[in-house]
Amino acid sequence: MELDLKALWLTTGIANFGIGELFMILVGAVLLYLAIARRFEPLLLVPIGFGAILSNVPVAGMAGPEGLLGYIYHVGIETGVFPMLIFLGLGALTDFGALIANPRTLLLGAAAQFGIFVTLLGALLLNYLPGFDFSLQDAAAIGIIGGADGPTAIFLSSRLSPELMGAIAVAAYSYMALVPIIQPPIMKALIPAHERKVVMEQLREVTPLEKILFPLMVLLVTALFLPAALPLIGMITFGNLLRESGVVDRLSKTAQNELINIVTIFLGLGVGSKLQAESFLTVETIGILLLGVFAFSIGTASGVLMGRIMHKVTGGKVNPLIGAAGVSAVPMAARVVNKVGLENNPHNFLLMHAMGPNVAGVLGSAVAAGLLLALLGGGG
């Protein structure tokens, strides 16, 4: 019986827990707290937080090659399939009408991607500090946090820097939730009050045919100029065509409900499997988390400055606030724009105007991800 008791003891968690695993379980619990009590992107952070806990229980091996989370990671994230399916669902969920009515707001979505590249540079600068040794690929994956788009960040880091995915995903989703805190001071600092009060003219109606042709147009331009962005752009435009074509409603409904929900559960658990102590508890993670705030701030600033340029060029028709929505973080950033706009003029509803740059930001960061993949994907 003695031997048996020892064997039994060795099967307990207590006998096998390290301090790192305990700490990571605490991290998982904090993520759950933020998701549930503070409503930080709960759709992703609940599964990620729970996945982080499961992954760090010793003996269980949930994130190992024969564990559920390990299988999920292998099948759906290593292959890039889950982020692509999320994009399919997002396409089916998104109304691009505001962007079609005012296509120039795409430039705001372009400008906000500056945050990606500045963060990339920031990561490379960190290499001058001891303990940091980011490759160009790592830096690019970290930079994409500035894209403020979760699935894009997961997709790119699964291709370029899988071992950093945990920190990158946590940073991306956490800061997306912090958009209402990070953005307003930057917006107010960079835009004079009178420009913030600009009332924009109402958006024109968009015809159904325009909505059908839009995804095909976006697909075509991407195919011609940056096919490496196709995995994400192709899926979001496919989902959007399902939505707008009007002839396959049952497929569109499934893509925007059950399919995206199932994939979201699995994506979150799979990402959680990358929050294992040994790979997450490094000084690099701290660097990534710091760079993340930076990334969002730069993205917001460059979007806002582009907004001011458009304000000038259009002779004052554009309220520069909507530039802040260019970081994506749909629809949070657009709501922040609306709120700040109302603070400056209680009758100025900018929500619809901000939706244009907001969805443009999604396209913009998918394009940036494609570019980084094209230039860095084949090796060093």
Partner: protein, 81 residues
């Protein structure tokens, strides 16, 4: 690759990246513009505007219906309680 070389490569990447993103999205701006013109020629918005209008009034109608039903329930409830 030394850190300096790496940083240089990063700067190059930044330049290339931002230029590409702007070119690509500018093309999309143009392409969407053309597309809208084409779409308006193929199916003039006048045709779709009333449709939009109709769908709006549908929504309005729906709201009326909901209002009617909730009014009925309200009356019922105030009669009761």
């Amino acid at each position: 690759m030394s850190l300096a070389e790496q940083l240089l490569a990063g700067l190059e990447l930044t330049l290339t990246g931002m230029v590409t993103v702007f070119i690509l999205l500018s093309f999309m701006v143009l392409a969407i513009g053309w597309m809208s013109k084409l779409a308006h020629r193929l199916a003039p918005p006048s045709r779709s505007a009333p449709m939009g209008a109709r769908s709006k009034s549908d929504t309005a109608e729906d709201k009326e219906i909901v209002a009617a039903i909730s009014a009925a329930i309200h009356r019922f409830r105030s009669a009761r309680g």
